[in-house]
Symmetry: C2
Subunit: 245 residues, 2 copies
């Protein structure tokens, strides 16, 4: 059974303000919860409608009815499990290797997909500007498919970080140089901008290397690629270059 107070807490965690106040966030779905349980993330409480996650102690797990799950879920199609996890303490930012920096990404699905791409391509540190969508937004957690346990995500002033970093900085612009013709290093900062407006003017000033994915075909009318698919191609190019292929 889920208590009135639990329902109140869970629905409040849909909002960033209350996530920060309680230092808790929600995860739904077997795969995501499984990956979080296997990682350094600390479980607060788990709600299940089926006999799953047998290894979680009864003191941390409550069996509930499907109709109760329908009341607490943020999904259109509820899963068999919903968990509350503790937000991890912020740790020191990785300043080496390939770093991805997001300048004001607003769509939760895009952020989730980019975290999954960072995981695939071995990017250990993802930086987000303060205006970027909250990584603990339930839709972001859902879209990461568990990759959030393997990528360090920090909210920082992206411009300040770039200015004090010795790493070469690459920004993606429509009028940038053909990425296929650039020599891309193994270590550097790759900056991606907002879905509608691209990289902000302030951050743009701090970027030396402007890169772009060339268009093909005759008509060339496609306005732009989605930021998550563009990130896929840029990360692929960085890793292909540094693997010497």
């Amino acid at each position: 059974m889920v208590s009135k107070n639990q329902i109140k807490l869970i629905t409040s965690l849909q909002h960033k303000k209350y996530r920060n106040e309680h230092q808790l966030f929600l995860a739904e779905g077997v795969k995501v919860i499984q990956e979080l349980l296997l990682s350094n993330f600390v479980l607060d409480h788990l709600f299940v409608t089926e006999a799953i996650f047998q290894n979680v102690s009864d003191s941390q797990k409550t069996s509930i009815k499907e109709q109760d799950m329908n009341r607490i879920t943020a999904l259109n199609t509820p899963s068999s499990c919903l968990a509350i996890f503790k937000m991890p303490k912020e740790t020191k930012i990785e300043t080496k290797g390939l770093i991805v920096a997001l300048d004001d990404i607003r769509d939760p699905g895009n952020l989730g997909t980019i975290i999954r791409l960072c995981d695939w391509f071995g990017v250990k540190q993802l930086l987000c500007s303060p205006e970027t969508v909250d990584v603990y937004n339930p839709k972001v957690i859902q879209a990461t498919m568990g990759s959030i346990t393997r990528v360090k995500i920090s909210y920082v002033d992206v411009n300040e970080f770039i200015l004090q970093s010795p790493l070469p900085v690459f920004g993606t612009f429509m009028d940038g140089k053909n990425v296929y013709e650039e020599k891309l290093p193994a270590e550097g900062i790759l900056v991606l901008g907002n879905e509608a407006n691209g990289i902000s003017a302030a951050v743009e000033k701090s970027i030396k290397n402007r890169i772009a994915i060339p268009r093909f075909g005759d008509r060339q009318q496609t306005e732009s690629l989605n930021v998550a698919t563009a990130t896929a191609i840029f990360l692929s190019e960085f890793r292909r270059n540094s693997s010497g292929k």
Copy 2:
């Protein structure tokens, strides 16, 4: 004003059965409708809540109130315009160039993103297995951002097409060869499989070249890339190869 019969027709067009019966489909949002109007697609009727699309004649355009738009929209946040377009007649399939074939893609957002990628990378023909989500699904039309006007999309038996085509066939598999090390041709068929199950066993048998995007990083636990982000990287590799970079 929107009539009861119009409301009935429009809401019926949310479903594939009625789209096929009427040979009509819906488009919402200024950008998508604008691109469709500028293309070979034929407008049936346009509903607007503001004084936009002045070049569309009054016989084909109805001004409606926002509350009426709320009744006919399929979007969570309604736009200022909704249009009914005629489905184009099926034309001959392009059998040359780089062709993308989808074996049972179910997510409308993924299909929309892949159409946008085909447009960017100059892929003129997209083939979809009969089980692939309907391209005239309103969510697909929305996600294409107008690219649907520049990519030919045909529903065919993918295996049959592959077997009778002289083009080399490339399929994406987790255990495929490193795509960065393959010589990719300017003309060929790139096959992508279902979100959960990949390429079907029947189609797999007809594929000679198995390719994959290599994983990077130490832990290598990411299960797979999303099919749309994988398509982005594969199309980028095909075009980079054939542009000699």
